[in-house]
């Protein structure tokens, strides 16, 4: 992993830590009604939560797949196999990102 990837992994990690605290609090501790259908739909119409959800998604996908890429680089020596893994990881991230953004904004 390059210096930038290493640095961004730390930054995104700290952001995810804070985001997860908010996510868990809202979902599980802010009251029984907060995960009801109406409350969830209301949040999905609110620009703040739309932004939060999309950013959270971007950070989590980056962090997860960048992390797996770091593992690939460390354990896989063959450059062909690495390239294959890189494509699979990149494709998976974009599919997940597309699906996630679609769920949030549709």
């Amino acid at each position: 992993m390059g210096v930038l990837a290493w640095f961004l992994q730390r930054i995104s990690g700290v952001v995810l830590f804070l985001g997860l605290v908010v996510h868990f609090y809202v979902m599980h501790y802010s009251g029984e009604g907060q995960i009801g259908y109406e409350a969830v739909m209301a949040r999905l119409r609110n620009p703040f939560w739309i932004t939060f959800d999309v950013l959270f998604l971007v950070f989590v996908i980056y962090h997860g797949f960048n992390g797996i890429w770091g593992i690939v680089v460390e354990y896989i020596a063959s450059s062909t196999l690495r390239r294959v893994c890189h494509r699979i990881l990149l494709a998976s991230s974009f599919i997940l990102l597309g699906a996630g953004v679609y769920i949030v904004v549709s």
Binding site: V14, L20, Y37, A99
Partner: protein, 114 residues
């Protein structure tokens, strides 16, 4: 690549395994959320959340998240140059925080099936 097995390399291995599992969980999480918009499907999902097996896996998820997040925070602090003398204290601190948050999170979950 070979490792010398110290506590630190064990923590690295745990960090990787939990990281891969959490990344795979994004697929499951988004798949479940894709049924969000349909009110009937949503009610079915919510009732599924009372299933003891689902609750057990949620507790498992909470532990994965806690181990990964606290260890990641520990790694970041060490990268930032926290003196190695503080390592033991840091480990103890994350252990205590981990156990407290785990109990705070899993006790209400278990109560739902009781």
């Amino acid at each position: 690549m070979r490792y010398r097995w110290h506590t630190g390399s064990f923590a690295w291995l745990i960090h990787r395994v939990t990281g891969i599992m959490l990344t795979l969980y994004i697929f499951l999480h988004l798949y479940v959320l894709s049924h969000l918009k349909d009110p009937v499907g949503y009610k079915t999902l919510l009732s599924l959340m009372k299933n003891p097996l689902v609750i057990l896996s949620e507790i498992g998820l909470l532990s994965l998240v806690l181990v990964h997040a606290l260890n990641g925070l520990r790694l970041t602090l060490l990268d930032l140059g926290i003196p190695t003398k503080a390592q033991k204290l840091l480990f103890l601190l994350s252990l205590v925080i981990g156990v407290v948050v785990f109990l705070l999170g899993s006790v209400p979950l278990i109560r739902e099936v009781l």
